[in-house]
Amino acid sequence: MEIMKKLMDLVFPPGMECPLCGAETARDNLCRKCRVKMTDRRGFRSCNLCGRFFAEQASAAAGSLCEECRSELPAFFPARSLGPYTGELKEAIYLFKYRGRRSLADGFGQLMAGLFLDHPIFACADVLVPVPLNREKILLRGFNQSAMLAENMGRILNLPVNACLDRIINTTSQSRLTGRVRRENVKGAFVPKTAPGRVNVILVDDILTTGATAGECARVLLEAGANSVGVLTLAAGVREKSVLSS
């Protein structure tokens, strides 16, 4: 049987393996099933501004803003993501970020490039800027996931990637902090390495939970001369308590 398989492989070379599920795939990328799973937003609506998700029953009509965005507009406009930070997308991000599965960056980059093209509001973007990581964290993790996503997107969209931000404070992990504390936590953590110029920036990150990190980066970029800052992430957090309203 082994010999038969090898002969068959010789005649009909096997396709690529999906880096997530291992299924055979024609492209050098995620398989079709995994691509659908990564972008599944069924049962959720999102805020038009910050892009965070809400369970469908908690939200009102489409075209609405969340409580936080109504009370204080974020520095970026707008933020979009592949899907809510739950289920299979959450697991895939965990593999990518914490288990060092770098090969997922290719597939994620393609999906995010697709997301970019789906939203005409990003059409005037000039440059992609990844959210920076502190040097210590890079040494610990071995890579900056946002930079990898930005590079893959840039290659597909033919957009330049400018790592013009630097993280000067190694902030405590945001994952267990609440919204207000997160904003305090990242205040002053970023500085511009070089001036981005009067360009329209797309900030690239892996997860947008409360928007604190993206908001701070956007503020710094705008102060450094950027025209506008939009945000693209793999996933956005899910809010349960707050409701959307028109």
Binding site: P19, G142, E151
Partner: protein, 664 residues
């Protein structure tokens, strides 16, 4: 995650020379200056990722040259040819090897692209050992202090490292953790101490990811091998579970193994430190102490063995006896029916290996089984220090003569154990994982024994047993002497869909569940092949049995259910009586009075023969209720269903023939 950039060097020590790699030439120079005060070191390369440096060393130099080779050939001069064959001078050797190094690096750059490695300008570079290690020519006393590990009891700093690393293959950070868990603190530069030990030949420094040929990459941790596709690789791409990118730590172009990335990043510039268990035992007094401690090992609280168990135990003890002949197999398949009491059988063999001063590994593919079995084994072997090693355990690196570990954790052992017992050898994730197979094979000492235990051996194990490559020991009867319940195959659609899209349970299933629920204290496992089916049919089944008792009567769960453990506990304690689940529970839970219903049993993508036998094996496990019922319900009879029934029937027949079914 520290990087390990190494220089390849040659050194002349009196009338001999040797080659080695080092991250810090000064450390080597100090030791070498002690051997030959006028010794010289020729650095052939700048700092390269250890994967590259190690490949250059092993390709350009023989093992003899790495350990130290005389410059003058000691063989008697041949009459005519000897006149022409002059022994090369050391300087000529350095020139030749330096040229070969440049050529080999250029070959590698054709794969990795030009500029992948640092510039070779200025190499080879010559220095005197004394100059590289100023002010300390040949001081062994100071080198002992260079161990930098605080002394621990009667052991010297070096012995502490050897003791912590013995039988392991670890990253530097893991070794530091191992030292802490074994009660020692690594002060100063641990990498320097390890370099000295490696130079003395007391341990191996390996790259975590290295080369077999310029375009062939091997992960030295998990054994995964991949070939780089033709043409220069593009950074930021991956193929065959090896990813190419520029390393954020060392800055060089690197490769990453994604097959074992869950156990820590394996890359070109990360070093692995390995020490074979037998070598560690030879050089360390602590291991000798362990042997003396284990000499009087006794089993306690283990119920007397049944005749079938006793025979298997005797055979197994004979198999594991030290001093086997080279032509006899060192691997054994212990094929026992579900609920046969395999663990008790292997305990006797484990105890005899421990008593002889050996070390035993009890490996299980799943973490929850390690946690469940550890207290049982500690009770049975109260005199033995037993370590439970699983993801999240606080004693991953602690040394003990008996280790219970998940197969993933076995990846960190290196020729450590005299006996490796692999329980549930057919279970996920071990099944089909070449990584874990290699890990288990590597954990055994040369000449040690491996016992594979399973109720459902795969075709490969059985075929090896048939060819006498591995020894086969069977336990065909359960410990209580009753036969394993034979499944009844019912060809019927378990669920009926109406035209409105609704779904109901067929009357056969409803009646069957009702009948089982009427039995005093009986519980039911209902297995479905997929999570989606459990989610869909769980509520329908609950509705069907609602007439018999409260809603909590039936629980459904699967691997993605956050309440899985709570629901499983409720079923185990008898609070719920029907548990609808996937194959995730086929081995996990044992209840006294269980019946088994496998729905959609013809779903061959999930339900293979082994899986069906395991599920059927949930029934009739206790001596009080040995006659459970098992039903496979499906629209058609598949091969695996037939094979599962035949297999159970066959083992029952063997048990009856051999007189082990006393309970009938």
């Amino acid at each position: 995650m520290k990087d390990l950039l190494v220089h390849l060097y040659m050194t002349k020590l009196g009338a001999s020379y040797r080659a080695f790699i080092t991250h810090n030439p000064g450390v080597d120079a100090r030791l070498l200056a002690g051997q030959a005060p006028d010794g010289i070191i020729d650095l052939l390369t700048p700092g390269l990722p250890v994967g590259v440096g190690s490949y250059l060393l092993n390709t350009l130099f023989t093992q003899e040259e790495i350990c130290g080779r005389p410059l003058v050939d000691g063989s008697p001069a041949r009459p005519v040819l000897g006149w022409f064959r002059r022994a090369p001078a050391y300087d000529d050797l350095v020139k030749v090897k330096a040229l070969k190094t440049v050529k080999l690096l250029a070959d590698m750059e054709t794969v990795f692209g030009s500029g992948a490695f640092p510039d070779m300008t200025g190499y080879p570079a010559r220095s005197r050992c004394r100059d590289l290690a100023p002010g300390c020519p040949g001081q062994h006393a100071r080198l002992e202090q260079h161990g930098h590990v605080e002394q621990h009891g009667h052991m010297t700093g070096r012995e502490v490292i050897v003791n912590a690393l013995g039988g392991r293959i670890l990253f530097l950070e893991e070794l530091a953790q191992a030292l802490r868990e074994n009660g020692a603190e690594a002060g100063g530069d641990l990498a320097d101490s390890l370099q000295v030990l490696a130079l003395q030949g007391r341990l191996e420094i390996l790259p975590s990811l290295g080369f077999k040929a310029p375009g062939e990459i091997t992960c030295f941790r998990c054994g995964h091998t991949a070939k780089v596709r033709a043409g220069p690789v593009r950074p930021g791409t991956g193929h065959d579970q090896v990813y190419h990118d520029r390393c954020a730590v060392c800055g060089c172009l690197s490769v990453y193994c994604e097959q074992c990335s869950t156990m820590g990043e394996s890359r070109l510039c990360r070093g692995l430190y390995a020490l074979r268990g037998d070598q560690a035992a030879a050089g360390c007094s602590a291991s000798r102490a362990e042997k003396i401690f284990c000499a009087g090992v006794k089993l306690r609280g283990v119920p007397p063995l049944t005749p079938a168990q006793a025979r298997a135990s005797e055979e197994l003890a004979g198999f594991c006896r030290p001093g086997h002949r080279d032509d006899t197999p060192t691997e054994c398949l212990l094929w026992a029916v579900t609920g046969a009491g395999k663990t008790q059988v292997v305990l006797q063999a484990a105890a005899s290996v421990l008593a002889a001063g050996g070390q035993v590994l009890y490996a299980v593919p799943r973490r929850d089984v390690v946690r469940e079995i550890a207290p049982r084994l500690r009770d049975a072997l109260p005199d033995i220090d037993i370590t439970a090693n699983y993801g999240g355990s606080t004693e991953k690196f602690r040394r003990s003569p008996f280790v219970i570990a998940t197969t993933h954790q076995v990846l960190r052992y290196y020729m450590q154990f005299d006996l490796v017992i692999l329980d549930e050898a057919d279970a996920y994730p071990y099944k089909g994982s070449e990584l874990l197979r290699r890990a288990v094979r590597r954990a055994v000492k040369p000449g040690g024994y491996t016992v594979y235990m399973t109720a459902t051996p795969g075709s490969e194990l059985l075929s090896r047993a048939r060819r006498k490559q591995i020894r086969l020991i069977t336990i065909p009867a359960r410990y209580h002497g009753h036969p394993v319940p034979e499944p009844l195959i019912k060809v019927a659609s378990p669920f009926i869909r109406d035209k409105q899209g609704g779904c109901t349970v067929s009357s056969f299933i409803a009646d069957l569940l009702g009948r089982w629920l009427c039995q005093q204290g009986a519980q039911v496992f209902v297995f479905l092949p997929t999570i989606g089916m459990v989610e869909e049919y769980g509520p329908i089944l609950r509705q069907a049995v609602n007439g018999f008792a409260a809603a909590e009567l039936l629980q459904f769960s699967h691997s993605r259910d956050p309440l899985r453990d709570r629901k499983a506990d409720a079923f185990k304690s008898g609070l719920s009586r029907i548990f609808v689940t996937t194959t995730i529970m086929e081995r996990g839970i044992t209840v006294k009075n269980a019946n088994v219903l496998v729905l959609e049993a013809d779903f061959t993508a999930v339900f293979d023969e082994g899986s069906l036998i395991q599920m059927a094996g949930r029934a009739g496990r206790s001596a009080e209720f040995p006659a459970g019922e098992v039903v496979f319900a499906a629209r058609r009879v598949t091969g695996p269903m037939r094979d599962a029934v035949n297999s159970i029937r066959c083992l029952n027949r063997i048990a009856a023939r051999e007189g082990y079914l006393s309970g009938e």
